[in-house]
């Protein structure tokens, strides 16, 4: 089973739902999050690594990023550092979505960039509620 495709960009209207990017190296997590959020009306784009996330951001992507921590090569924290270095974090809201019960010291210095911290496994209704809350902050 290959990775799910990204949702095509809809025209920007004031009642369009905010875009969500799920960044995780696990295919099944990508499918699960995309299914749950699509069902709630959110367009979802996927990135299988920190690098793919940065590429999307450099191409102008804005919205809500759900970011895994434990990924090979570039973990969640490395990804946030890269977002800051590349200067592409101006219009994104970042929430960690991770199996790690609590973050380690690598998060120090990044607190202001992490809006929320959701642990896996998550209840789907809880994830939808949170993304709806984040939407209020990212909407201009």
């Amino acid at each position: 089973m290959g990775p799910p495709g990204n949702d095509t960009t809809s025209g920007g209207s004031s009642d369009a739902m905010e875009r969500v990017m799920i960044v995780d190296d696990d295919l099944h997590i990508l499918v699960a999050v995309k299914t749950v959020l699509n069902e709630a009306g959110f367009p979802v784009d996927i990135a299988e690594s920190g690098d793919e996330c940065i590429s999307l951001l450099k191409a102008g992507w804005t919205g809500i990023i759900l970011l895994d921590i434990m990924m090979p090569v570039m973990d969640g924290w490395d990804t946030i550092h890269a977002i800051n270095r590349e200067g592409v974090g101006g219009n994104v809201l970042i929430a960690m979505l991770t199996a790690k019960e609590s973050p380690d010291r690598k998060m120090i210095g990044l607190q202001e960039y992490v809006f929320d911290y959701i642990t896996k496994p998550f209840e789907p209704a809880e994830l939808v509620n949170k993304v709806q809350l984040y939407s209020k902050y990212i909407r201009r």
Binding site: N91, S102, I108, Q111, E112, Y113, Y117, L133
Partner: protein, 196 residues
Amino acid sequence: MRTEDHFPIIIIGSSTGGPQVLEEIFSRVVRVPGAIIIVQHLFHSFVSVLGGQIHEACGTPVAIPSEGESVCAGTIYLAPGGRHLLLKNNRIFCFSDTDKLHGVRPSIDLAMRSLSPGQGKRCMGILLTGMGEDGAKGIDHIRKIGGVTAVQDPLTCAIMSMPLSAIATGSVDYILSPQGIATMINTFDPGGQQSR
């Protein structure tokens, strides 16, 4: 000095996971005893939105203070991003661009520790969800000058470390759910009889 000048100050410190909890708390706040100052570790572009959300939740407007502004009773303040917020003589806002503390700026510790002993029992320190240790020393300081301290129940937090670090100082009076924190704010009356 008039009695209005002795109004209490409540400082709420909050980090990752905070905005949701702040909305929940303020949706139940019906009274603003003195001045409430919120220090939330937050990306700067979200600060004014957070202010708007808190305003919507409780009906009281939220001000983002500037250098030299006076602290006024009955007002909710939200620290702007990127600078340390400090109080001078417990009544004037000042800002500082010194190094980040615990990796953050504004730092909750610096804000709480800028309260001078003159504020005595007329202050409250509240620490919500977040990673790291910012706010632990601040809570300890507020307790030592005679104020009341509370942390969000770690089990209701997105990240527990900040409340846990504060609890470890031994200076936490109450461990409360967000609803409990709202009740504490609503009933805070350090001058008179406080219903606990």
